[in-house]
Amino acid sequence: MSAELSAAPEPMNAGAPAVSDAPRTLALQWATVRVLMMRDIVRFFRQPSRVVGALAQPVLFWFVIGSGFAGSFRVEGAQGLGYQQFFFPGVVTMVLLFSAIFATITVIEDRREGFLQAVLAGPGSRLAVVLGKALGSSAIALLQASLFLLLAPLAGVSAATLNVPLLLAVMVLSALALTGMGMSLAWWVRSSAGYHAVMSIVLLPMWVLSGAMFPLKGADTWLAWVMRLNPMRYSVEGVRRALYGAEASMALGASSSSAGLEVPVLVAFAAVFVGLAAFSVSRRE
């Protein structure tokens, strides 16, 4: 026995191969996804402070930072479009990011408490658990962003340039990608204090460097590369294009390298990060 033990130093799955996968039906997986998604949505509405914060924060952000920078910032070649307009899509992405961050902090809390343990001990697959969490967070993010988008007319968005399908696609994919990224990070960090550090040294700088606050034109080469690998950049530029049209968004500083690529690139990011999150969560320790 001891020889056998030392020959198998890595955890294994209790000997036998899975005898039966029959009960792991698609219906069960979907039930797991749906129940976790609905739980997060119900929880959101039962915390009035969260609802108020979620609505007020982006508006405040847009007005305060937007008007603060408006005087000193001039968008070259974009007639009639000021900083408030430039900044608006950045705030939409910020809403998506903050919602993802919040959702992933709840993953850390759920994990410490018994709730997530009870879910993981159930028959649902871990991919279903991650998807449920990601979709729940995305639904809340979309709701928040949609409410904020009611202010779009104030940001100079006209019906002529508004591209709703593109807008929805970019927002859903961004929400999934950001939640997946947040969950992968949260799973390794394990403590909410550590996650706050990750948030301030990784996630927020990524947002600042996404083209949300200033155009990406003229950045150093290495910085340009960092920006190219930043999912939030495609989110910001996708939202900008969906709101103001291709022409104005180019004038507002969208880099030509991402024009038209936002959706496929975000699909890739969402797939990679949700997959990474599922992989992290499914590693049995």
Partner: protein
């Protein structure tokens, strides 16, 4: 209770662990544990904190992978992650798995859905479970307002809502007062009978161990005994003489030398196990001048005493986990 034991003694085990082993960075938390759980019994894993109970529990809950060993359910070898095995288990964790922002009913419904129960079937089970734990009229309250005992009962309902065959519990009554403890166990035993459950739980409470059908005594990740509480208690032949004294160590040494007794100091008191305990009391009192003994008491051995005899450790004591490696591997 004994009837159940007789009738199940010959039947095949429902759940078997064979050579289950789990290490953490050089420390072996569970060391080749083999155990058979019979259908319908309540089997307690007894041991102090750090004996490997919780690790065993987490492996069976599918949260930790074993490094060696296998698990059989109804004789069939199954991976612990196998959904068909996961469905057969209802689990109560040490930490609350309830969502405070949801009502009791919603918590149960969520539990049912996670195991694939939907629609009318889920509703029926949720209502049946609420009634069984005696909280049917409070199902629409948010659980954040509930007492520890009520929450624990709801955990029980949540773990059983999908009708598992096995209930797995990690220190289920930790932190509950005496009354809540008794209520929880009354409900558990009733549910065991009505749902045809088999129960496996970890505990380090002697009073909880007493109410189990059988006990598996763990020490340093190994099984040191497995029997009914009565049989375990009868392993200790006689009575326990417990002496309170100002200088327990000195007294114990003297008892060993002068009276040839196997005296040891346990939690500040001198303990002697003796077959004729009552005859020993006058000898003891006569042998020592006034002031050496503060009090002398005689009692039947408890499971805590059995545990001490089997492992050399007090049941209530924590095995130090700060420096476990050198201490545990003997």
């Amino acid at each position: 209770m004994s009837e159940v034991l007789v009738s199940t003694a010959t039947s095949h085990p429902l759940l078997q662990l064979e050579g289950l082993t789990r290490r953490f960075k050089g420390r072996t938390a569970v060391d080749g544990l083999s155990l058979s759980v019979r259908p319908g019994e309540i089997l307690g894993l007894l041991g102090p904190n750090g004996a490997g109970k919780s690790t065993t529990f987490q492996v069976l809950a599918g949260l930790l992978s074993p490094h060696a060993g296998l698990v059989r359910f109804e004789g069939r070898e199954l991976a612990l992650s196998d959904p068909s095995l996961r469905r057969q288990m209802g689990i109560i964790f040490q930490r609350s798995s309830l969502d405070d922002l949801l009502t009791a009913r919603e918590n149960l419904k969520l539990g049912a859905r996670l195991y694939g129960l939907g629609g009318e079937r889920a509703r029926e089970r949720v209502e049946a479970m609420l009634a069984l734990i005696g909280l049917a009229d409070r199902g629409d309250e948010r659980v954040s307002t509930w007492s520890g005992g009520m929450r624990r009962r709801l955990e029980l309902a949540r773990a059983l809502v999908h009708q598992p065959r096995v209930l797995l519990m990690d220190e289920p009554t930790q932190g509950l007062d005496e009354a809540a403890f008794r209520t929880f166990w009354a409900h558990l035993k009733r549910l065991r009978d009505s749902e045809g459950l088999t129960v496996l739980l970890t505990t380090h409470r002697a009073d909880e161990a007493e109410v189990c059908d059988r006990l598996a005594v763990l020490d340093a990740g190994r099984l040191v005994a497995c029997d009914t509480p009565q049989a375990l208690a009868s392993r200790m032949g006689g009575d326990i003489l417990s002496v309170e004294a100002p200088e327990p160590e000195a007294l114990a040494a003297e008892l060993r030398e002068r009276l040839g007794l196997d005296a040891k100091v346990v939690e500040g008191r001198v303990q002697v196990e003796a077959s004729q305990g009552h005859a020993l009391v006058p000898r003891l009192v006569e042998a020592f001048p006034a002031g050496r003994l503060t009090s002398v008491s005689l009692r039947r051995p408890t499971l805590a005493d059995v545990f001490l005899q089997l492992t050399g450790r007090a049941l209530g004591a924590d095995v130090p986990t700060a420096e476990p490696a050198p201490r545990r591997r003997r």
